[in-house]
């Protein structure tokens, strides 16, 4: 039992921040809720499934459970619609912000809010790819879809974000970011 708890602690220390970031992006930047859901996901793993699967599988299991919890949150609070309104508000032209130190934060917020305009499956696939560096096959396992669907979803998510990003940059030059 002790060794199982030690293994669990190691997994938690390594993976909890990643899961929080994944959920925060999925939920549009609501950090406290993301942390609660990440904790609840680990709690479920510890209570019901820990010890019944390899540690590598546990990572996928956590993504799957956390994603389902986030979807439930969407359904409960109609987050998508409220966030969509906020994105529109963000995209609206406004006066130049004099405080340059907030510029980075602004961009971060913009990225998060633009992510919320994507369909949930495209958003999740893109986040698992860009944040967690999962392969298409691994993403397919987490989402229980085919590899080819993952490929298409990620491409569509990128194409959609690129288009929106170009539009925002054209309207509001402060958000323009030069390609790396």
């Amino acid at each position: 039992m002790a060794s199982e708890d030690e293994e669990f602690t190691m997994l938690f220390q390594d993976f909890y921040p990643s899961l929080c970031r994944f959920l925060e992006c999925l939920l549009g930047g609501r950090a406290p809720l993301a942390q609660d859901l990440a904790q609840e996901s680990f709690l479920q793993l510890h209570r019901t499934a820990w010890g019944t699967m390899p540690v590598g599988e546990a990572r996928f299991w956590l993504y799957r459970v956390a994603r389902n919890m986030a979807i439930n949150e969407f359904r409960k609070s109609h987050t998508r619609y409220r966030l969509f309104d906020r994105v529109v508000e963000t995209m609206r032209p406004r006066a130049r912000n004099p405080e340059q130190e907030y510029e980075t934060q602004e961009r971060k917020t913009l990225v998060l809010e633009m992510l919320q305009t994507l369909p949930e499956d495209q958003r999740t696939a893109l986040l698992l790819r860009e944040h967690e560096q999962l392969s298409y096959r691994e993403i397919g396992q987490v989402l229980n879809v085919s590899e080819s669907k993952v490929k298409v979803d990620i491409f569509r998510a990128r194409a959609s974000l690129r288009e929106r990003w170009a539009r925002v940059s054209h309207v509001n030059p402060v958000n323009h970011v030069n390609p790396v």
């Binding site: 669990f8 929080c20 970031r21 950090a31 510890h46 209570r47 194409a159």
Partner: protein
């Protein structure tokens, strides 16, 4: 994005293309400005997403870990309960199905057995029927067929058994009925076993006697052998008949009663028997149709013992 390669650009930056495909896309990129822009924008998006940092404090993380570890685990109980429930349900279903199949097989296997009691066999010779009762008083006489039919009629009746046994020999070409099986007499298992064996031995003897070839040199020896067997069986037949009478087993008693004179006749054959004497006994055996009756009743007794 009008170029057909743009979708492959996405896979290229994810490293999901094969070597050949990646080379092809990279060659295309050299000459396609649109794809170059797409590639640059996709990589820009990646840097924006990758630069996202979550605002997680270490104290919050440690608190969450402590809370999780302090919660009791319920994996075994829950998993076992579900697994056991499923297995138990599957096992119960199997048992029920097996019981139904077993019952059907048992029923189907019993049905023909019962029919054997009402055995179906054609009598080979056109001889009028005779009753056991009449045979005792007039062993060689042939009673009227009508009388025999009258005695057969009440054999399935629930009324008390008549005073005399009701074994009827079938008419020629008529299906004969074995001794009715109800009500069951109370007899010891040993007596039943002995009776069943006796019926078997008698059947064998009568079949062998029927098959003796009269015009061949070994006839005398064959008859002598069958005569010896008949002498042994006569005594046993008497003993079993008395036992069946005492136990009230009318069916067995009647059959033994009809068998006994035949066994006595065989036992009393001379050392060098006349062919006609043998022929007469054979005709009686055929007329009484005793061989199939012995076979049916020995089988019935054996099954009852099982």
């Amino acid at each position: 994005m009008n170029c057909s390669f743009t979708e492959k650009i996405s896979s290229l930056i994810d490293g999901e293309l094969s070597t050949a495909e990646a080379r092809e896309v990279e060659r295309h990129l050299i000459g396609c400005n649109e794809c170059q822009e797409v590639r640059a924008d996709f990589l820009n998006l990646r840097s924006q997403l990758a630069g996202f940092e979550t605002s997680l404090e270490p104290a919050v993380q440690n608190r969450a870990l402590k809370k999780i570890l302090s919660t009791p685990r319920r994996t075994p109980a829950r998993g076992f309960a579900w697994g056991f429930g499923t297995q138990a349900a599957a096992f119960a279903t199997l048992v029920i199905v097996a019981a139904i199949i077993g019952f059907l097989i048992y029923r189907s296997s019993n049905t023909p057995t019962n029919e054997k009691h009402l055995a179906v066999q054609q009598t080979p010779t056109p001889v009028p029927a005779a009753t056991v009762q009449q045979k005792q008083s007039e062993p060689e006489a042939s009673p009227s067929p009508n009388k025999g039919d009258e005695q057969t009629a009440p054999r399935r009746s629930p009324s008390p058994a008549p005073k005399k046994p009701l074994v009827r020999e079938p008419k020629p070409g008529e299906q004969f009925a074995a001794i009715p099986s109800t009500p069951d007499p109370v007899r010891s298992a040993d007596a039943q076993t002995m009776t069943a064996l006796h019926f078997e031995k008698s059947e064998t003897l009568l079949v062998a006697f029927r098959n003796v070839r009269l015009n061949e040199p070994g006839t005398t020896a064959e008859v002598a052998y069958e005569r010896k067997r008949a002498q042994q069986l006569v005594l046993q037949n008497m003993m079993l008949r008395r036992e069946a009478d005492a136990a009230g087993d009318v069916q067995v008693s009647s059959l033994l009663e009809s068998l006994e004179p035949i066994l006595i006749d065989i036992s009393n054959l001379p050392d060098k028997p006349d062919k006609d004497a043998i022929r007469v006994i054979r005709q009686r055996v055929e007329r009484k149709n005793i061989v199939p009756l012995l076979r049916v009743n020995s089988t019935a007794l054996a099954r009852a013992l099982d």
